[in-house]
Symmetry: C2
Subunit: 101 residues, 2 copies
DNA sequence: TTGCTATTTTGCCAAATTGCCAAATAGATG
DNA sequence: CATCTATTTGGCAATTTGGCAAAATAGCAA
């Protein structure tokens, strides 16, 4: 039987890596995109309609999410379908919802 | 018996509010502070030593966390002790740790 | 009151972020 | 090849953020 794992203390580097991912989520449009991908993959053009910004703006948000490792794309003909890689990032919402200022 | 609650669709305003809180967490120093408060409240001067930045910088990070509703302060003489209001925000870390780029 | 300590606020500046438009790219199709 | 569609990239201005230092504030004690 294993002894209970004791986590190493986190370094500044660890926190920087975490912050990169959290920063990618820290934008209203990107939260909307992530939530839109909760149940199914969605095409960029659909996301543009949902978001309502210029397509180039939406694309930039997607590349930020992609670089953070939060979403991935699959090409199908001319369309790119984005999907959520780690749906658990949306569980966060439940905790956040309980915070009142 | 109640029927299962069906969440309302989130508005841009909802996402903006969520983003505010997440943005407050999206900085290495602020993640370090939040984790330092995981088990017990901590004085500002201790946090300054942990973080290593100028005291005014630490104070600014604390005010960002406070405005986001993530921490609160309790005065004891000259010292201010900060504590984590919603420890659940640290559960997030588990999901984040699974993300690889 | 004065002085002392802990903390916050203000001012400043460099760096990063945001969003739009235009241009470039990738893939499909003729 | 040319052309069309979907998407990304580059450039730019406006705004926001981060960190230090100086000044201001809050509470305690003499």
């Amino acid at each position: 039987m294993k002894t209970k794992a004791r986590p190493e203390p986190k370094t500044k580097h660890d926190y920087a890596a975490q912050a990169e991912i959290i920063k990618a989520m820290a934008h209203p449009t990107r939260l909307l995109i992530l939530n839109s991908l909760k149940k199914k993959e969605v095409c960029v053009c659909e996301l543009r309609d949902l978001v309502g910004d210029d397509i180039s703006t939406v694309s930039k948000h997607l590349s930020i999410l992609k670089n953070a490792g939060l979403v991935a794309a699959r090409r199908e003909g001319n369309w790119l379908h984005y999907r959520l890689i780690c749906p658990c990032v949306l569980d966060f919402t439940g905790c956040i919802a309980g915070i009142k200022r």
